[in-house]
């Protein structure tokens, strides 16, 4: 019984309880709303998972998500065609990711510090030089891309399809490609991976480029879903939520373990909780308390069922 199963169990128990006691919880419409509400979080979670499995972390992912999408809208507001604005916005996100990777791989700055600095830099620089306003609205001219956040395909909201698509791609990358296997090797034992010939430095750059790409996609989904981008989200606690769905699902911060499935399980638990509490009309502050309690319970059960000892502990375990 690992943490993934524990969290899945809690999710199933909550799901059954809500289905029994909450009217309309299991309606197709509500279930779609439920998954849709957490799909951006899940997409960012997949990006973060690929890094954490390789024993990295990207604290800049939310800043990149907010500022690159914000700049895209700002450029479009200035009359630049939306396709070009998206390309520029994406290049901005990508360069932030690549710089992160280079700092970590070649300059050998610890990932925690490099990405923490990058998060402030991306936010500060973009606010100073690129996006003067704190909330950027989507211009009329950009309505051609509104489907990204608002559309339906086969009766399913497009953001959910993106979540499924990114999850599948992430799964395929981690399991069926050589770089994907390197990620596990690096997370498990970095020195051994390096000595056995894995191109660890380019791999690190690739990982951060992937997470920046995923961040940009998630940013455009959010921006088109609410026809605006609130760049202050870069300063919010969202980055903790992203790490949370990854860790909650059972991906250890020490790397080398877990997969996309864990992210999906963690994301669904959060989604079920949020949706159920909204239906029950529980107050905002109390929602926070309940949410953190459920998370603590999951972690406590995990350490009771899987106690840490010398055999299970890994070097670099946090």
């Amino acid at each position: 019984m690992n943490q993934e199963k524990i969290v899945l169990l809690i999710a199933i128990v909550l799901f059954c309880a809500f289905s029994l006691f909450l009217n309309g919880f299991t309606s197709a419409g509500n279930l779609l709303t439920l998954v849709r509400g957490v799909s951006t979080l899940g997409i960012l979670g997949v990006g973060m998972a690929i890094l954490i499995i390789g024993r990295g972390i990207d604290l800049a992912i939310v800043a990149i998500y907010a500022m690159s999408a914000g700049w895209t809208l700002h450029l479009a507001n200035g009359g630049i065609p939306i396709a070009l604005a998206m390309l520029i916005g994406y290049l901005f996100a990508l360069s932030a990711g690549v710089i992160n990777g280079v700092l970590i791989a070649y300059v050998e700055v610890p990932a925690l510090f490099a990405t923490l600095g990058m998060a402030s830099f991306v936010y500060g620089f973009a606010r100073y030089a690129l996006v003067p306003l704190y909330v950027v609205y989507m211009p009329e001219a950009a309505s051609g891309i509104a489907w990204i956040g608002n559309g339906f395909m086969f009766g399913v909201p497009v953001p959910i399809l993106f979540f499924a698509f990114v999850s599948l791609l992430g799964f395929a990358f981690l399991h069926f490609t050589k770089p994907g296997r390197f990620v596990y090797a690096m997370g498990d034992n970095f020195a051994a991976a390096r000595m056995s010939g894995a191109p660890v430095r380019p791999m690190i750059v690739l990982q951060y480029a992937i997470s920046a790409t995923i961040a940009y996609l998630a940013g455009m989904i959010t921006a088109t879903a609410v026809a605006s981008m609130n760049t202050n989200i870069a300063n919010s606690s969202m980055i903790y939520d992203v790490i949370l769905v990854v860790v909650l699902g059972g991906i250890g911060l020490s790397g080398g373990r877990g997969g996309v499935r864990n992210v999906v399980v963690g994301t669904l638990l959060i989604g079920i909780l949020l949706n159920g509490m909204t239906i029950m009309d529980i107050q905002y502050t109390l929602q926070d308390v309940i949410r953190s309690l459920v998370l603590l319970i999951a972690i406590v059960i995990d350490s009771l069922v899987n106690p840490r000892d010398e055999q299970t502990a890994q070097q670099g375990d946090i």
Partner: protein, 334 residues
């Protein structure tokens, strides 16, 4: 004789000149004028917003900066960037720097209350703008939140009378903020008079459009016959609007905000049915007047307890006209 004539002539000319002189100099000096300018010369006005870069704070700051330039005052902004900690530090630092007036935009009713008291004890006039704290300082200038909450709720109820489901949802921001608690009180005032109205959801979305979207989408799933939504901030309520649009239902959405161009555009497009706006530039001018008032009063800091509720404006399809809203982008360019 000749001399006398000459003298008379000279005198006449002089007197004519004199009269002419008098009529040219008919302007009368205002004895208070010099004092007026002297009162402000070299004074310092400090501003601690919740953050810069939002329509509200940028709007106020532009008016205050213009006033400071005009009157030879120094206007300083300490931007804590949404961090209550950084804001508290900024105020602490300002207390020792002793500006003459400190304008504070509180993130919630508690965080700065003690500091504001200390600032006044140190002789700094403290003006709180739009979001008040528990401590009543020299002055509060800003929206009448209770009035806005009442107007918003009434506007939704007007659209959800007999013949509809009479079910409404309330979408708060952050319940601990001064604006939120006021608007909620206003909503309660109106709801207590309308027992027929059912509040099916009362949720906070943390001023975040994405959260607002998810919450309202869930509420609509749960109550497909929802009639109206009372939203507490237009920027956040764009998310509620997206959820309503997706549901394909006709659900009334009334919001409040700073009356920026975005609000007028969205009322015109039918995204919002109505916005109760607190025009930001008017608030800026009220602030500027209050700065002059406390500096001229000669009273020590903390002696007066002024309140100015800035008037609110209803933005609906009927009241829309060019110039009703203001543009944050144009202020930014200046």
């Amino acid at each position: 004789m000749k001399i006398k004539n000459t003298l008379t002539a000279v005198a006449a000319i002089l007197s004519v000149l004199g009269i002419a002189d008098l009529s040219i100099a008919a302007g009368i000096d205002d004895p208070r004028r010099a004092d007026y300018f002297k009162t402000f010369e070299g004074k310092t006005v400090a501003f601690v917003p919740v953050t810069m870069g939002i329509d509200l704070t940028d709007g106020w700051a532009s008016v205050l900066q213009a006033q400071a330039d005009d009157l030879g005052m120094k206007f300083v902004i300490r931007d804590p960037h949404f961090s209550a900690d950084a804001g508290a530090q900024a105020i602490t630092a300002l207390i020792s720097e002793k500006p003459d007036v400190l304008i504070v935009h509180n993130p919630d009713i508690q965080s700065y209350a003690k500091l504001l008291k200390r600032a006044e004890e140190a002789g700094i006039h403290v003006i709180q703008v739009n979001m008040r704290s528990n401590y009543n300082s020299d002055a509060y200038v800003g929206a009448d939140w209770i009035g806005i909450g009442e107007a918003e709720t009434q506007a939704v109820i007007d659209r959800c009378g007999a013949g509809t489901s009479q079910k409404i949802a309330i979408l708060q921001g952050q319940p601990t903020s001064g604006s939120d608690s006021g608007m909620m009180k206003g909503a309660e005032n109106i709801l207590s008079k309308h027992p027929e109205i059912k509040v099916v959801a009362n949720q906070g979305a943390d001023w975040d459009a994405t959260k607002a979207r998810t919450i309202i989408a869930t509420v609509i799933q749960q109550n497909p016959d929802l009639c109206g939504v009372v939203g507490f901030w237009d920027v956040m309520d764009l998310g509620a609007a997206a959820a309503i649009k997706e549901s394909g239902k006709k659900i009334a959405l009334v919001t409040s905000g700073g009356g920026e161009q975005m609000a007028c555009d969205n009322v015109e497009k039918g995204v919002f049915d109505e916005e109760i706006a607190y025009p930001v530039l008017d608030q800026g001018h009220a602030l500027a007047v209050m700065v002059q008032t406390v500096l001229q009063s000669g009273e020590p800091a903390g002696k007066n307890k002024f309140v100015i509720y800035t008037p609110s404006v209803r933005i609906t399809k009927e009241t829309l006209h060019p110039g009703l809203c203001w543009s944050a982008a144009s202020i930014k360019k200046n």
